[in-house]
Symmetry: C2
Subunit: 698 residues, 2 copies
Amino acid sequence: MLDNFFNPNSIAVVGASRTPGKVGYDILKNINQYGYPGMVYPINPGASEILGKKAYPSLIGVPGKIDLAVIVVPSKDVIEVIGQCGTKKIDSAIVITAGFKESGIEGSKLENELIRKAKESGVRFIGPNCLGMIDTHSKVNASFAAGMPARGGIGFFSQSGALCLAVLDRALPDEIGFSKFISMGNKADISDTDIMLALAEDENTKVILGYIEGVGDGRKFMEVAKEVTKKKPVIILKSGITSSGAKAASSHTGALAGREAAFDAAFRQSGVIRAHTINELFNFALAFANQPLPQGPNVVIITNSGGPGILAADACDKSDLKIVSPHKDVVDELRTFLPTAASFYNPIDILGDSGADRYEKALTTVLKDEKMHGIIVLLTPTAVVDVDETAMAVVNIAGNTDRPILTSFMGKQRIGSGAKTLLRYNVPNYSYPEEAVSSMNAMYHYRVWINRPEKTYPQFHDLKSKAIHIFEKAAEENKERLTDSEVHDVLTAYGFTVPRSLFARTSEEAVAAARGIGYPVVMKIVSPQVIHKSDMGGVKVGLDSKKAVENAFFDITTRVRNIMPAAQIYGVMVQEMIRGGKEVIMGITKDAQFGHMVMFGLGGIYVEVLKDIAFRITPLSQEDAHEMIRETKTFPLLRGVRGEAEADIEAIEKSLLTLSRMAMDFPRIIEADINPLLVRKRGEGVVAIDARFAIGGE
Amino acid sequence: MLDNFFNPNSIAVVGASRTPGKVGYDILKNINQYGYPGMVYPINPGASEILGKKAYPSLIGVPGKIDLAVIVVPSKDVIEVIGQCGTKKIDSAIVITAGFKESGIEGSKLENELIRKAKESGVRFIGPNCLGMIDTHSKVNASFAAGMPARGGIGFFSQSGALCLAVLDRALPDEIGFSKFISMGNKADISDTDIMLALAEDENTKVILGYIEGVGDGRKFMEVAKEVTKKKPVIILKSGITSSGAKAASSHTGALAGREAAFDAAFRQSGVIRAHTINELFNFALAFANQPLPQGPNVVIITNSGGPGILAADACDKSDLKIVSPHKDVVDELRTFLPTAASFYNPIDILGDSGADRYEKALTTVLKDEKMHGIIVLLTPTAVVDVDETAMAVVNIAGNTDRPILTSFMGKQRIGSGAKTLLRYNVPNYSYPEEAVSSMNAMYHYRVWINRPEKTYPQFHDLKSKAIHIFEKAAEENKERLTDSEVHDVLTAYGFTVPRSLFARTSEEAVAAARGIGYPVVMKIVSPQVIHKSDMGGVKVGLDSKKAVENAFFDITTRVRNIMPAAQIYGVMVQEMIRGGKEVIMGITKDAQFGHMVMFGLGGIYVEVLKDIAFRITPLSQEDAHEMIRETKTFPLLRGVRGEAEADIEAIEKSLLTLSRMAMDFPRIIEADINPLLVRKRGEGVVAIDARFAIGGE
């Protein structure tokens, strides 16, 4: 895929310049100087030759075929050049030029025009407003970055050109190897998903690294990421966590779902590894690009000093990695050559007077323990240790095992060349033990991801047809929310148990309804304007007599009228009072980029005060429903503490899957809450006590 | 303090060697080669001269006065040398030699002997089992480390010699400046607190940096740290978080109080800044050593690229720093020279075509905004930017402002010399924006610490005398826990309100008691063996009739007998049933290093499932009590959610202070829980419903 970008037989630089320092010059120079073997055509109407290459006045005048056009002309001319690409049958272009969407309204219009023209002309393009692209294997450096990274397995794409520069500059002196470097710019045409797919196919790329600030089509992103992460690790640094201004939301689910919740869910559901800092992005990339994945969580630490060993063990303890003692036979063997003052367990402290030979022996010995899935080697530059020799010893062993070895040779002056040796032979060295641990942990997480079985999606009968008339009617009437009786109908259509309830216009009707349902009952205001009924004094519970119902009718209607004089009060809903069980809340919300999400949390203060909630993007798999319940900190309360009975967790899972189905069936749902959903004992199911639905356009 | 260590007029190296590679040689060489101006005496019975210095057979034979002895002889000979120090009136020694406590039982004995001998001889010593000590200002390098750090303001002490080596090796190529480097070894005599006090006094030390795995005397540590942190920042990396094996505890408070809780509380209460990784330790040290503290939380970010700016803003958002918009006048001024595509708010993006001049102007302009307390400057190595020139521009401005400026010039190859320039002129440069932010945040926290008013400690009447007889009796009887009636008496002596309760041996007595107290009542088993009464079925609540009390008596005694056949059942306690209010839990626990701590959390599942608790080491100040309540995530529940009344938070504070007083009064208390403490509405106080006290020796 995107072959003409990454492996073109010929490149034209449209807007090539003779003036050093100009972007049109730097790009041509970069293409020339890093050994690109194909044809290069500078396009410049005022020049006959640039940097030793014959120049042409326009693309049209170039005699041969052109695979890739790199466009550096002023923004007003870009669209014309794209047209020429079409004429010349050039299907791939990189638009370096800025001055498009990033620059305001005029630029936005220009970008739309560019997109249109490119589609019409059959041209795919990267950019605009980008730094260009580098492929180390085909030796294409179609960028104005200073330098060419070493060849290697990291494929990097970035929404920020500046970050490309910083990463490249960081990589150069350490000869960190990259396969591709792609500055995505405004992503007007070629998107993150296009690049992920191309990198997934690219045999030179072992790990896909990305920096994004947002994605265009969240659904597509997830769909592609899910497939790609089965083949290769995808590590992404996502910025823009600070969502400016929380939107005024009309339901709990909406208020609780920030954009971060959507990204977190999307990454989790599609196996993307999230880096939280640039440093992590780098650290993880080095591990994945150079070392095999661990088969499990067990890590053994070999160190020549106690302190760093403890720090590494602490870091393991905070991660999902496990520090287990080596097998007895291994300990016995260690005893044969380590000094008695050494520590034979884990971390294995081979002491400060260790040389390379002792490191080598210890490493060889612990590798005999099959239950050790990964090894972390720590070194402090003592007077006796030969750092380079030790690095070579580690490298030799790492080359002969299928288990990951990460190192932290600490320091800088005496460590420098050893660290380089390690990396050159594919053993990443980290400045600090904690970084080696977090990188190993990321690898372990990815192992868990690729080992997990295919997700299972539940089959539903057609439920949609039973509820479609409600949503259609609401759409016709331009309603913003469903009425209580519509909510009731939607919930029952989707198989939710709801309390028996009867609508009453007068206190007499209320008494009759209560008698029909059976005391005690709950009464709730029915008014299209009253959304948070309890907060308005519009709910009364435990009404166990005629008198109580009559009083409640009066109380409720008076209180709501006092608080909201303008509210239309239709009457009250008289409901069966369900007792016992635990309150949970679940709902649907809609993210601008990822669409519908389903939310879950324990009801009341757990959600409101502790924000102890979990999100998944629809459709939910059975595994998603299972995991999201267990993800909340309050989950033990559902399983039952202090001898309580276990709640019907299966019924919660089923409800979440049903909500997911409902969201898929009705794109009009903007937000929905079932709050509370009462969960009874295991086997006894759930009851949707109250719910709200906000709807909008498709 | 410790002047003869840090600024000796003469040094003897006992065990000096002529063999390169031996520690006794390396130390002498280090003392010689870094310009130490004082007298140096190698002590070696078999040599007449080493490294150009006249050697002596023993300390006694040295003609002049010796200020400091560095001891490198075999462990069996160390004690004799210490004796000679005494004879020769040398009051300061560094014992490099290993083979003491760290090596097992024999070594432990030897160390005790060493301590005894040193005390008897009037010798203070660092070590044993250490790397030695460096003072860059007096040019003493009495260590066997390879290299001498640059002069600077960081005073570093470390329990791990290896970490000293790693830190030194990391510091050398970047010329990071240190005042002192002290390898503490086994801390047999000179302790962390001694060193902290000495560094606090040392005028060359601006920031105190430490690595510890534990402290000997936790109370002393806190007391000293509290004083020292008023003068200078103390940053400590504490390892050993993984407490091996949780101790079997007999109360909630005990089970919840890990050693980490004690260290966290101790650091917080004494103003110590905790670093969580070696990287953080370094990063924080550089900020504190080189830049002034911010006066407040407002940070402005200046960047030449969007992505890194967003990453920095995200990091601020996760910290306590604030990103505020610049003053209108400042924005207006920025508009006069920045391109229109720039971002004028915060982060201020001066765009990728910025040169040093634009950085300089932008920086000068934002500094006119007095409400900006700190500045973070980000740079990515674009083609146009002159990194060195920009570094000089930043340095010049930083030298003329009293506000902190931290930078993250990102990359490595093109950044290297600029980063060095920055650091040379006291502007720390961080590899990644997030590191600059977390360092600024640490400085802001320290500013808050030094600005806070003196803590206030409440005055108590003598409460001890009212309860002392209970504890004395318990001690005489070797009791492990107080009986219910003793608990009752202790609580009332300390002014806690407790439910009215009467002991009943039979169901008839129980009925009489209930009648006296008034229905409804609570009944609880009274048995010395039953600690967790509810779990044993030993509690019944809401008993509102004679019949109910009779049944409950039978139920409770039968159930407990069935579950614990061996338990002695004395009868039941009939208690007034207190209704309403919120349940909290508070308690006392005893940490091996820090002594008594007071714990607080919301009762029931909040403590048990969510572990939402706070600790403070006694004595608690009023501020401690105030803060620890507000530290819990569930605090909003006490303030009242959804229109609930506020709980009596003042009464909780008073109770915590009372518990602190009680712990101070009675060192015998090992653990105590008041669980639940029922908190009523504001102004209505608290009631201690149930409590447990475990006691031991002093």
